[in-house]
Amino acid sequence: MSPAEATLDDARETEDLTYLEAISSGLREEMRADETVICLGQDIAAFGGAFKVTDGFLEEFGPERVIDAPLAENMILGAATGAAIEGMKPVCEMQFADFIACGFDQLVNVAAKMHYRQGIAVPIVVRLPSGGGFSGGPFHSQNPEAWFLQSPGLKVVAPATAADAKGLLASAIRDPNPVCFLEHKGLYRHVRGEVPAGEHLVPIGEARIAREGGEMTVIAYGSTVQLALEAAEQLDEEIEVLDLRTLAPLDADAIVASVERTGKVLVAHEATRSCGVGAEVAALIGERCFELLDAPVRRLTAPDVPIPFSPPLEQAVLPQLEQMKEACRELIAY
């Protein structure tokens, strides 16, 4: 039941969808194709979800497959684990990624370790609306992906485009392991793209070259992919942008290949700095690409602070376009 290779046939029909619409459409199609796929989360049924991802799902699939859960994240994760053990494919929604902290025990101690310890597969997906930029404050703006990287047994994906959002969600649902799906709230309505209609799978564990270049590489995921592409356009430089797409397991080969081409790397993510995905990527590059490097590996991230509420404070913390451009300029000149 491993996901098939992603194929983007030129002759296939595509739809122009927002990132959010792609997630919704992908989830709906998986639920139509497989009746064991169920949704579990707060306010997802009658209300259609806090961000309307499951809008209309209750009408189509009924209350047994679209379940409004009480305010109990451990219960959501635990029940999902139990149901998954007994043949269902639950897709849990944390209303905000931040609230995974309330369900963390079930996620890392029960779901993540179940197969290693007992050979029992736990095919759950945890959808995590993450990211800041709209004065959400410290508890509605986090990017907690690094927490999951420290828990063996979890797969972690973070799409940056509408097509990848749909494709990775489908692959996550079909994967027999627990998958954390980071959907960046800022991309919901600001990113659109051509999304293949019908079945569309993007393999977990595969990065994507969003833009080719020879001078330097920006390794990014989620919200910073867009930022890097804009910076490259405006600077009009030969900047390669590598969209990781999957954070665990990392596509180490793609990373190494890009470093080989350019020799200069900027890792960019909105999540805070210390021990983030950037730290792991930088360490990996240091280990495997020492003789390919023409400059030290740099990181552009939020600093180690909770995300503040007031707009000027929040803007000072989240990576901005000007910072991205400046970082690229410096690295190219080095």
Partner: protein
């Protein structure tokens, strides 16, 4: 990312010294970072097309940092140094004021950029090793003059160093004695000459045609004109006579006064006559612009002036460029034959060798050779190397023939 202090900074950039100059090389810095400089005080010496130029400071202040090291060639406009013109003499240098912050590690050598031309990153080392490149010969365009990967790749692509040839057998019982000798680094001028000569040979299809000339008439004419010209401050040489005859011949053979551009031969309206001038450790070719307008005396004066200023290093870059034909005259040392190298982008160069008294046959009036006699005549060889791409042997010979005729009949026509 640390922020740079907002202070006034004067930029010193590689100037454009001459209309056609595109780059220059730093010869030496006369000031170091931290030094106080006055306005117009000389900061450094740069060389371009073998002419050295001193760069004056654009203002008064403290020299903050030097960005290009001696020996490095950069394009016109490249930033060479920065001067802090808010500093006052006697104030401590910025680096002496504050201890560096431990968190300032974010900027990559942005602030105080030391000389990083010898810092080699891992990938640069590896590529250099793979290709047998001596990194000291590579120019760096990175921060502090660092050799970037792209610099090295460009160097290799342009031909760079020849790959290190591994000997077929690695062990030999014979160990030759080390040769005695002395190493001398080539000066920028020597390197420039070397580059130009090799380039010229690679570009043109060199042929050399030699014509013997009887300078008897010229010798006589010179004797007659020398004193009155000397009274006007002009030294009259045989070279001037040859120059005059050459210029006249060029008017009748425009192909010899042309350049090749792609598939086209570009004929120049003016004759800009280059005169090779020997220097202590090289040569220079100042140009007499519009030589066709000058008389014998004018040519003689121009030749003398350019030679003198050339030897004194007083020529401007514009005076050593733009030539359309070159004459060289190494003859006073006694050589009688040479195969000079064309001064690109010209198509011919004329070498006037030594004037030597020889016994020659002087033709009598008879057609059958009766009346021929042997006489002692001052003879010289005009050796012209020419570009077979632009013309053929017959035209070269004709051209030289006209010069010969003109010189041998000097005085008869006037």
């Amino acid at each position: 990312m640390s922020s740079s202090p907002t202070r006034e900074v004067l930029e010193v950039a590689m100037p454009q010294m001459g209309v056609s100059v595109a780059e220059g090389t730093i010869v030496e810095w006369l000031k170091r970072p931290g030094d106080w400089v006055e306005s117009d005080e000389v900061l450094c010496v740069v060389t371009t097309d073998k002419v050295d130029v001193e760069i004056p400071s654009p203002g008064a202040g403290r020299l903050e940092r030097i960005l290009v090291e001696p020996g490095v060639t950069v394009a016109v406009g490249t930033l060479l140094a920065e001067i802090d013109d808010n500093a006052r003499p006697g104030e401590p240098h910025r680096e002496e004021e504050t201890a560096p912050e431990p968190d300032a590690a974010d900027a990559i050598g942005a602030e105080a950029a030391p000389d990083r031309s010898r810092f080699y990153s891992p990938v640069v080392r590896r590529i250099a090793e793979e290709h047998g490149v001596d990194l000291e010969r590579v120019e760096g365009s990175g921060v502090g003059g660092r050799i970037r990967k792209t610099d090295l790749l460009g160097y290799i692509e342009d031909g760079g160093d020849a790959p290190v040839e591994r000997p077929l057998h690695t062990e030999s019982p014979y160990v030759p004695e080390p040769q005695q000798g002395r190493r001398e680094p080539m000066s920028p001028m020597r390197q420039a000459i070397a580059r130009h000569m090799v380039e010229s040979r690679r570009t043109s299809a060199h042929c050399t045609t030699v014509t013997e000339v009887d300078l008897g008439a010229v010798v006589g004419a010179r004797a007659g004109l020398r004193d009155e010209m000397a009274a006007r401050g002009v030294a009259l040489t045989y070279l001037a006579f040859v120059a005059e005859a050459t210029v006249a011949a060029l008017r009748r053979h425009p192909t010899l006064n042309s350049s090749i551009e792609g598939d086209e031969i570009v004929h120049h309206d003016d004759v800009n006559l280059g005169i090779a001038v020997a220097l202590e450790a090289g040569l220079i070719v100042p140009v007499i612009e519009r030589a066709q307008r000058l008389s014998l005396e004018g040519l003689a004066a121009a030749i003398e002036d350019l030679a003198a200023r050339g030897r004194a290093g007083e020529l401007s870059p514009d005076e050593v460029s733009g030539g359309t034909f070159t004459i060289t005259n190494p003859g006073r040392f006694g050589s009688v034959l040479a195969t000079p190298i064309i001064n690109q982008p010209e198509v011919a160069i004329l070498d006037l060798e030594a004037v030597v008294k020889r016994p020659v046959v002087v033709e009598g009036r008879g057609d059958d050779g009766s009346g021929d006699a042997i006489a002692i005549r001052p003879m010289t060889n005009l050796c012209m190397s020419w570009d077979h791409r632009a013309l053929d042997g017959i035209e070269a010979a004709r051209f030289l023939g006209e010069i010969k005729e003109s010189l041998e009949a000097w005085g008869a026509r006037r």
